[in-house]
Protein backbone atom coordinates (compact mmCIF):
# COMPACT_ATOMS: atom_id res chain seq x y z
CA UNK A 1 0.00 0.00 0.00
CA UNK A 2 2.84 2.36 0.87
CA UNK A 3 4.44 1.52 -2.44
CA UNK A 4 1.24 2.42 -4.28
CA UNK A 5 0.97 5.70 -2.39
CA UNK A 6 4.60 6.45 -3.15
CA UNK A 7 4.07 5.83 -6.85
CA UNK A 8 0.98 8.05 -6.82
CA UNK A 9 2.91 10.79 -5.06
CA UNK A 10 5.72 10.52 -7.56
CA UNK A 11 3.32 10.72 -10.49
CA UNK A 12 1.59 13.72 -8.92
CA UNK A 13 4.95 15.46 -8.43
CA UNK A 14 5.95 14.85 -12.05
CA UNK A 15 2.61 16.13 -13.33
CA UNK A 16 2.84 19.23 -11.13
CA UNK A 17 6.35 19.90 -12.43
CA UNK A 18 5.12 19.56 -16.01
CA UNK A 19 2.35 22.06 -15.37
CA UNK A 20 4.56 24.54 -13.53
CA UNK A 21 7.60 24.25 -15.81
CA UNK A 22 6.55 26.89 -18.39
CA UNK A 23 6.13 29.43 -15.60
CA UNK A 24 9.22 28.47 -13.62
CA UNK A 25 11.60 28.29 -16.55
CA UNK A 26 11.65 32.04 -17.37
CA UNK A 27 12.04 32.87 -13.69
CA UNK A 28 14.98 30.52 -13.35
CA UNK A 29 16.52 31.89 -16.56
CA UNK A 30 16.24 35.48 -15.36
CA UNK A 31 17.75 34.52 -12.01
CA UNK A 32 20.62 32.74 -13.74
CA UNK A 33 21.29 35.72 -16.06
CA UNK A 34 21.21 38.14 -13.16
CA UNK A 35 23.86 36.13 -11.36
CA UNK A 36 25.96 35.88 -14.50
CA UNK A 37 25.79 39.52 -15.66
CA UNK A 38 26.40 41.34 -12.40
CA UNK A 39 29.61 40.13 -10.83
CA UNK A 40 29.72 40.56 -7.09
CA UNK A 41 32.92 42.64 -7.26
CA UNK A 42 31.17 45.25 -9.47
CA UNK A 43 28.48 45.71 -6.88
CA UNK A 44 31.05 45.90 -4.13
CA UNK A 45 33.17 48.37 -6.14
CA UNK A 46 30.34 50.87 -6.63
CA UNK A 47 30.85 53.80 -4.30
CA UNK A 48 28.32 56.66 -4.54
CA UNK A 49 30.70 59.03 -2.80
CA UNK A 50 33.47 58.32 -5.28
CA UNK A 51 31.07 58.79 -8.21
CA UNK A 52 29.94 62.11 -6.75
CA UNK A 53 33.53 63.30 -6.36
CA UNK A 54 34.28 62.16 -9.91
CA UNK A 55 31.33 64.18 -11.19
CA UNK A 56 32.50 67.24 -9.28
CA UNK A 57 35.92 66.96 -10.92
CA UNK A 58 34.28 66.49 -14.29
CA UNK A 59 32.13 69.59 -13.82
CA UNK A 60 35.20 71.63 -12.93
CA UNK A 61 37.01 70.40 -16.02
CA UNK A 62 34.00 71.12 -18.23
CA UNK A 63 33.68 74.62 -16.79
CA UNK A 64 37.35 75.31 -17.47
CA UNK A 65 37.01 74.30 -21.13
CA UNK A 66 33.75 75.83 -22.39
CA UNK A 67 32.60 79.44 -22.67
CA UNK A 68 31.09 81.09 -19.66
CA UNK A 69 27.69 81.17 -21.40
CA UNK A 70 27.90 77.50 -22.27
CA UNK A 71 28.76 76.64 -18.70
CA UNK A 72 25.80 78.68 -17.46
CA UNK A 73 23.57 76.86 -19.96
CA UNK A 74 24.70 73.46 -18.71
CA UNK A 75 24.41 74.50 -15.09
CA UNK A 76 20.92 75.95 -15.55
CA UNK A 77 19.41 73.58 -18.13
CA UNK A 78 21.43 70.37 -17.92
CA UNK A 79 22.55 70.26 -21.56
CA UNK A 80 24.81 72.09 -24.00
CA UNK A 81 24.01 73.53 -27.41
CA UNK A 82 26.60 73.35 -30.17
CA UNK A 83 25.95 75.07 -33.48
CA UNK A 84 26.42 72.91 -36.53
CA UNK A 85 29.05 73.97 -38.99
CA UNK A 86 28.99 71.07 -41.42
CA UNK A 87 27.60 73.02 -44.35
CA UNK A 88 29.48 75.67 -46.22
CA UNK A 89 26.77 78.24 -45.59
CA UNK A 90 26.63 77.77 -41.87
CA UNK A 91 24.74 80.98 -41.43
CA UNK A 92 21.76 82.20 -43.37
CA UNK A 93 20.85 85.79 -44.00
CA UNK A 94 19.72 86.20 -40.40
CA UNK A 95 23.01 85.06 -38.96
CA UNK A 96 21.62 81.85 -37.47
CA UNK A 97 23.14 78.45 -38.14
CA UNK A 98 20.84 76.07 -40.07
CA UNK A 99 21.06 73.37 -37.43
CA UNK A 100 22.39 72.80 -33.95
CA UNK A 101 23.00 69.97 -31.52
CA UNK A 102 21.89 69.42 -27.97
CA UNK A 103 24.38 67.46 -25.87
CA UNK A 104 22.96 65.55 -22.93
CA UNK A 105 24.97 63.46 -20.46
CA UNK A 106 24.82 59.77 -21.37
CA UNK A 107 22.02 60.30 -23.88
CA UNK A 108 22.07 60.65 -27.65
CA UNK A 109 23.03 63.96 -29.21
CA UNK A 110 19.98 65.61 -30.77
CA UNK A 111 20.20 67.57 -34.01
CA UNK A 112 17.48 70.16 -34.60
CA UNK A 113 16.58 73.27 -36.60
CA UNK A 114 16.75 76.31 -34.29
CA UNK A 115 14.40 78.44 -36.40
CA UNK A 116 11.55 75.94 -36.34
CA UNK A 117 12.49 73.70 -33.38
CA UNK A 118 12.11 70.76 -35.74
CA UNK A 119 13.96 67.68 -34.52
CA UNK A 120 16.20 66.13 -37.15
CA UNK A 121 17.88 63.06 -35.72
CA UNK A 122 19.56 61.42 -32.77
CA UNK A 123 23.21 60.43 -32.74
CA UNK A 124 24.02 57.65 -30.29
CA UNK A 125 27.65 57.82 -29.26
CA UNK A 126 29.55 56.53 -26.24
CA UNK A 127 33.10 56.90 -24.98
CA UNK A 128 33.64 53.52 -23.34
CA UNK A 129 36.85 53.07 -21.37
CA UNK A 130 37.91 49.46 -22.03
CA UNK A 131 40.00 49.40 -18.86
CA UNK A 132 36.80 49.66 -16.82
CA UNK A 133 38.36 51.14 -13.69
CA UNK A 134 36.10 50.51 -10.71
CA UNK A 135 34.12 48.08 -12.86
CA UNK A 136 32.45 50.65 -15.13
CA UNK A 137 33.28 51.85 -18.64
CA UNK A 138 31.12 54.99 -18.33
CA UNK A 139 32.69 58.39 -17.84
CA UNK A 140 31.19 60.73 -15.25
CA UNK A 141 28.19 62.55 -16.80
CA UNK A 142 29.95 65.90 -17.23
CA UNK A 143 33.02 64.20 -18.73
CA UNK A 144 30.68 62.54 -21.23
CA UNK A 145 29.30 65.98 -22.13
CA UNK A 146 32.79 67.45 -22.41
CA UNK A 147 33.97 64.58 -24.61
CA UNK A 148 31.02 65.14 -26.95
CA UNK A 149 31.58 68.90 -26.93
CA UNK A 150 35.29 68.56 -27.72
CA UNK A 151 34.69 66.03 -30.46
CA UNK A 152 31.86 68.08 -32.02
CA UNK A 153 33.67 71.41 -31.96
CA UNK A 154 36.92 69.85 -33.18
CA UNK A 155 35.71 67.44 -35.83
CA UNK A 156 31.95 67.30 -36.26
CA UNK A 157 32.06 64.88 -39.17
CA UNK A 158 34.32 62.44 -37.38
CA UNK A 159 32.08 62.27 -34.34
CA UNK A 160 28.89 62.03 -36.35
CA UNK A 161 30.53 59.36 -38.47
CA UNK A 162 31.26 57.35 -35.33
CA UNK A 163 27.71 57.60 -34.03
CA UNK A 164 24.67 55.46 -34.71
CA UNK A 165 22.07 57.57 -36.46
CA UNK A 166 18.40 57.25 -35.52
CA UNK A 167 15.28 59.21 -36.21
CA UNK A 168 14.39 61.69 -33.52
CA UNK A 169 12.29 60.10 -30.83
CA UNK A 170 14.01 56.77 -30.54
CA UNK A 171 15.70 57.43 -27.18
CA UNK A 172 14.56 60.91 -26.28
CA UNK A 173 10.98 61.86 -25.70
CA UNK A 174 10.38 64.38 -28.52
CA UNK A 175 8.05 66.46 -26.36
CA UNK A 176 10.70 66.67 -23.66
CA UNK A 177 13.32 67.77 -26.19
CA UNK A 178 10.97 70.42 -27.61
CA UNK A 179 10.38 71.62 -24.07
CA UNK A 180 14.15 71.84 -23.63
CA UNK A 181 14.45 73.86 -26.85
CA UNK A 182 11.71 76.19 -25.63
CA UNK A 183 13.46 76.52 -22.27
CA UNK A 184 16.69 77.27 -24.12
CA UNK A 185 14.96 80.01 -26.13
CA UNK A 186 13.68 81.58 -22.91
CA UNK A 187 17.15 81.24 -21.41
CA UNK A 188 18.66 82.93 -24.47
CA UNK A 189 16.23 85.82 -24.21
CA UNK A 190 17.16 86.30 -20.59
CA UNK A 191 20.85 86.41 -21.57
CA UNK A 192 20.99 88.54 -24.73
CA UNK A 193 24.77 88.54 -24.75
CA UNK A 194 24.77 84.77 -25.16
CA UNK A 195 22.61 85.05 -28.28
CA UNK A 196 25.02 87.55 -29.76
CA UNK A 197 27.91 85.27 -28.98
CA UNK A 198 26.14 82.34 -30.56
CA UNK A 199 25.27 84.33 -33.67
CA UNK A 200 28.80 85.55 -34.06
CA UNK A 201 29.89 81.92 -34.07
CA UNK A 202 27.33 81.00 -36.67
CA UNK A 203 28.09 83.88 -39.00
Amino acid sequence: MFAALGVCGLVAAVLAAEVAAPRLKPLLERWRLRLAVVPQEDVAAYDPGRERRAEQRARSLLRSCVNEDDWAMYRDLGFLRVWGNGSAGAADGHGVAPYAYLIYPHKPIVAYVPQSSRLLSEYCVDFPDRERPYGSARLPPSDDVLAKWMALTADERRLIGSANLHLAGRQHNPDAVRADIAALARWDRARPQSVEAARSTAS
Binding site: A58, C124, V125, F127, Y134, R138, D143, M150, A151, S162
Partner: protein, 82 residues
Protein backbone atom coordinates in the same frame (compact mmCIF):
# COMPACT_ATOMS: atom_id res chain seq x y z
CA UNK B 1 51.88 71.48 -20.24
CA UNK B 2 49.70 68.92 -18.51
CA UNK B 3 48.37 65.70 -20.00
CA UNK B 4 45.01 64.77 -18.46
CA UNK B 5 42.90 61.68 -18.99
CA UNK B 6 39.22 61.24 -18.25
CA UNK B 7 38.57 58.16 -16.12
CA UNK B 8 35.33 56.45 -15.16
CA UNK B 9 34.72 56.72 -11.43
CA UNK B 10 37.39 59.35 -10.98
CA UNK B 11 37.20 62.31 -13.34
CA UNK B 12 40.40 63.54 -14.90
CA UNK B 13 43.75 62.04 -13.94
CA UNK B 14 47.10 63.78 -14.40
CA UNK B 15 49.15 61.58 -16.74
CA UNK B 16 52.21 63.78 -17.14
CA UNK B 17 53.31 67.35 -16.66
CA UNK B 18 56.30 69.20 -18.00
CA UNK B 19 57.78 72.12 -19.88
CA UNK B 20 58.02 71.56 -23.62
CA UNK B 21 60.98 73.93 -23.76
CA UNK B 22 63.02 71.50 -21.66
CA UNK B 23 64.13 68.63 -23.87
CA UNK B 24 63.98 65.88 -21.26
CA UNK B 25 60.53 66.89 -20.07
CA UNK B 26 59.30 67.22 -23.63
CA UNK B 27 60.51 63.68 -24.34
CA UNK B 28 58.57 62.40 -21.34
CA UNK B 29 55.48 64.24 -22.50
CA UNK B 30 55.81 62.74 -25.97
CA UNK B 31 56.15 59.23 -24.57
CA UNK B 32 53.13 59.68 -22.35
CA UNK B 33 51.18 61.16 -25.27
CA UNK B 34 51.96 58.21 -27.53
CA UNK B 35 51.13 55.72 -24.79
CA UNK B 36 47.65 57.21 -24.47
CA UNK B 37 47.03 57.09 -28.21
CA UNK B 38 48.27 53.48 -28.26
CA UNK B 39 45.61 52.71 -25.67
CA UNK B 40 42.97 53.96 -28.07
CA UNK B 41 42.42 57.41 -26.61
CA UNK B 42 41.54 60.53 -28.53
CA UNK B 43 43.51 63.64 -27.66
CA UNK B 44 41.96 67.11 -27.60
CA UNK B 45 43.41 70.52 -26.91
CA UNK B 46 41.04 73.19 -25.62
CA UNK B 47 41.71 76.42 -27.52
CA UNK B 48 40.23 79.87 -27.87
CA UNK B 49 39.47 81.03 -31.40
CA UNK B 50 40.29 84.48 -32.72
CA UNK B 51 36.74 85.69 -31.96
CA UNK B 52 37.01 84.57 -28.36
CA UNK B 53 34.97 81.39 -28.66
CA UNK B 54 36.27 78.32 -26.91
CA UNK B 55 36.48 75.08 -28.84
CA UNK B 56 38.73 72.06 -29.09
CA UNK B 57 41.17 70.60 -31.56
CA UNK B 58 41.70 66.87 -31.96
CA UNK B 59 45.37 66.02 -32.39
CA UNK B 60 46.88 62.78 -33.63
CA UNK B 61 50.52 63.58 -32.99
CA UNK B 62 52.37 65.54 -30.36
CA UNK B 63 53.74 67.82 -33.06
CA UNK B 64 50.17 69.03 -33.69
CA UNK B 65 49.82 70.25 -30.11
CA UNK B 66 50.31 74.03 -29.94
CA UNK B 67 53.53 74.78 -28.07
CA UNK B 68 51.73 77.12 -25.74
CA UNK B 69 48.91 74.71 -24.92
CA UNK B 70 48.35 74.38 -21.20
CA UNK B 71 46.81 70.93 -21.37
CA UNK B 72 45.90 68.02 -23.54
CA UNK B 73 42.84 66.01 -22.58
CA UNK B 74 42.61 62.32 -23.44
CA UNK B 75 39.28 60.57 -23.57
CA UNK B 76 38.12 57.18 -24.88
CA UNK B 77 37.52 56.88 -28.60
CA UNK B 78 33.93 57.50 -29.68
CA UNK B 79 31.86 54.47 -30.55
CA UNK B 80 28.32 54.07 -31.74
CA UNK B 81 26.12 53.43 -28.75
CA UNK B 82 22.52 53.01 -27.55
Amino acid sequence: MRLLRMKPGHGEVLIAEGDVEIAEQERELIEAFRAQLDQGMWAAVPVTSSDGRRQAELVRDFSEVPRDAERVIFFPRAAGGC
